[in-house]
């Protein structure tokens, strides 16, 4: 890959980042193909929406327009041009709340991935790298965590910490732990049995170098698991919000907004439609991109 660049000998950063050995390679438009590229655009759109959307909205999510309660979307009769997707039962702008909700959902997803990677990843790695008693203990704990339905875990967390967005994040992260531990453990296990690691070991490499090399070659399945964790976390936090266990009403969170819309199913179906379609699109995009990456990285699995 290395070619003569401005600096002379170093390969340019861009060609390195998009090179065959890198992940970003799979996100090059020419590699992705049209349908996946479209998915990728949707993904970028939602990321941008979560990052910059809240700064761009005309209204505040808690701003009440008392004279425009339950206004329908702008293209329906009775729609107001100031509120593109209509307003809710308190006269709050639906689009604004959706945009602010995207920040909550994506933020929770990211946090869950971070916590799950930090705790689950290190437990899984330790379990496999150290092996023996440590491995047994971690696996037993994982089994117990897995045998408990995730909703019960959430209820336990919420009973102890009270309901709210932050207990919800704790619950969602705990729910994602067992899968992460298992994936990291099994990939690291496969990798550390490989010949080059054995050879490095017998040549007296220190642990730091071994760990670095193992991790470098395990990132594929772990990245895929992170994507699954992300989409599951978004689904779970909105489910908790819907059940009244997660984010609490004044906060604009997609699941909580759906729960509020239940009473207006006949009179204001748009309140029900849009938060749900947002959840579905984000989760679907992530699952499909995860599938795509899995196909690329591991062509054996159907």
């Amino acid at each position: 890959m290395s070619s003569l660049t401005k600096d002379g000998l170093e390969p340019s950063a861009a060609s390195n980042l998009l090179g065959k050995g890198s992940f970003l390679y799979f996100f090059k438009p020419s590699v992705m193909g049209l349908p996946t590229f479209f998915l990728f655009l949707v993904f970028v759109f939602f990321c941008l929406m979560a990052l910059f959307g809240p700064m761009l909205t005309f209204h505040s999510p808690s701003e009440v327009f008392a004279d425009q309660i339950l206004a329908p979307p702008v293209w329906q009769s009775g729609g107001v041009s100031a509120h593109w997707l209509g307003t809710d039962d308190l006269g709050r702008d639906l689009l604004t709340r959706l945009v602010h909700g995207s920040r909550v959902s994506m933020g929770v997803g990211l946090l869950a991935v971070f916590l799950s990677l930090l705790i689950g990843g290190s437990l899984g790695f330790l379990s496999s790298y150290v092996g023996g008693k440590v491995d047994q203990a971690v696996m037993r704990a994982t089994d117990i965590l897995m045998s408990l339905p995730s909703i019960l875990l959430a209820i336990i967390v919420v009973t102890i910490l009270g309901s709210g967005l932050y207990p919800g994040i704790v619950a969602v992260s705990i729910m994602s732990l067992p899968a992460m531990i298992r994936v990291v453990r099994i990939t690291v296990w496969d990798e550390k049995e490989k010949l080059y690691i054995m050879a490095a070991k017998s040549l007296g490499s220190n642990h730091g170098l071994l760990v670095k090399n193992i991790l470098k070659n395990c990132k594929g399945p772990i990245v895929i698991q992170c994507m699954l964790t992300f989409s599951e976390a978004i689904l779970n936090i909105s489910a908790l919000g819907f059940l009244g266990l997660g984010a609490q009403p004044p906060q604009s969170e997609w699941g909580t907004m759906l729960a509020d819309s239940k009473a207006y199913i006949e009179t204001a179906p748009w309140l029900l439609f849009y938060p749900g379609i947002c959840i579905l699109i984000v989760v679907l995009t992530f699952n499909l991109l995860g599938d795509y990456l899995r196909d690329k990285l591991d062509p054996k699995v159907l």
Partner: protein, 336 residues
């Protein structure tokens, strides 16, 4: 059947049940603050009833004694009474369980039958348009926020087209005596069997479809990939060369062997099914375990939360255990 594997599995079941009992025991003791004060909440309480609640819950004794008493109560199915309804928790659990069972059973029936058929249909059309559509559909089903899906179905089927009722298990004007607790069966035993059965079936169908969505998607996906694997086996080619019809090959030779991984997936689904049931019951006001546990969280009915978590958790664990054993029994290759 009583091999060492069985004993080991039983041991680990008992161990997890014990951990669960610890979790549910410490649950109300981990709530920051005085549990009794939190339990009575804003209702306020006199000094005598404060002491009474405290001793009823066994909170006035040292911790190990409390736990021992708790275990003894669990074993004799005495889980205390609800603060709100004053009914024993075990009795309520049994009632609600039947409702959840009816819903989940029917949903699993839909998911398994449709999932197998669609999975096979996709497998035999491998790679073409039908297959791609079905598999995209399955990812959509898998990603579906079912609480939203349920509301959308209510919006169309119940509100717009008025085909099904919005909520509950049966209409108030139809009198059904509770014999088994399963509405479909009870309605057949009532004075107007046909009318009552139709009514309870209409109530059941929409929640079941909603609950079936996610399992259906994963069963279809699993069936497809395991069916494709099986179709490339030698004995399938032999069957073709013997001149058997496609139907015979698919449903007699291939299905039997393709079924094993599918059964594993179904077995792993029990916990997810319960999570789904809680959401579905909330949407359709189905009076089952999920609704029960959730309303107890809302009203901070701690005896119900504590016992509910233990009972529902053990139910899922025992189910998983039974499925695990059955699976070994169905698949002779694992019986070593």
């Amino acid at each position: 059947m009583f091999s060492s594997g069985f004993i080991g599995k039983l041991g680990s079941l008992l161990f997890t049940l014990w951990i669960l009992s610890l979790v549910s025991f410490f649950l109300i003791r981990l709530i920051p603050g005085d549990p009794v004060r939190i339990m009575v909440g804003d209702r306020g309480v006199s000094e005598e009833s404060y002491q009474e609640i405290k001793s009823n819950l066994g909170l006035d004794k040292p911790l190990p004694v409390q736990y021992f008493v708790y275990l003894k109560k669990i074993v004799s199915f005495d889980m205390g009474t609800s603060f709100i309804t004053r009914v024993s928790v075990w009795k309520e659990f049994k009632e609600k369980f039947v409702a959840t069972f009816e819903l989940s059973f029917f949903a699993m029936f839909i998911a398994v039958v449709l999932g197998l058929l669609l999975g096979i249909y996709a497998a035999v059309n491998r790679g073409n348009f039908i297959d791609k559509t079905l598999m995209t559909g399955s990812v959509v089903g898998f990603s579906m926020p079912i609480f939203w899906w349920g509301l959308i179905l209510i919006l169309y089927f119940s509100v717009r087209w008025e085909l099904t009722p919005v909520s509950g298990r049966n209409s108030v004007f139809i009198d059904i005596e509770s014999v088994t607790g399963l509405m479909l069966i009870d309605s057949l035993l009532s004075s107007e069997p046909w009318e009552a059965f139709k009514d309870s079936f209409q109530h059941l169908i929409l929640p079941s479809v909603v609950l079936a969505t996610v399992p259906l998607a994963s069963i279809a996906r699993m069936t497809r990939s395991s069916f494709i694997d099986v179709l490339s086996e030698d004995y399938i080619r032999t069957a073709y060369s013997k001149g058997l019809s496609r139907t015979q090959i698919y449903f007699k030779h291939a299905l039997k062997n393709a079924l094993l991984p599918v059964i594993t997936v179904i077995g792993l689904m029990m916990g997810a099914l319960l999570t789904g049931a809680i959401l579905t019951e909330t949407i359709f006001s189905w009076p089952g375990l999920g609704r029960w546990l959730l309303s107890s969280v809302e009203s901070r009915d701690y005896p119900v939360i504590q016992a509910g978590i233990f009972l529902i958790g053990s139910l899922v664990m025992i189910l998983n255990f039974v499925i695990d054993i059955l699976y070994k029994w169905v698949n002779p290759r694992l019986r070593v």
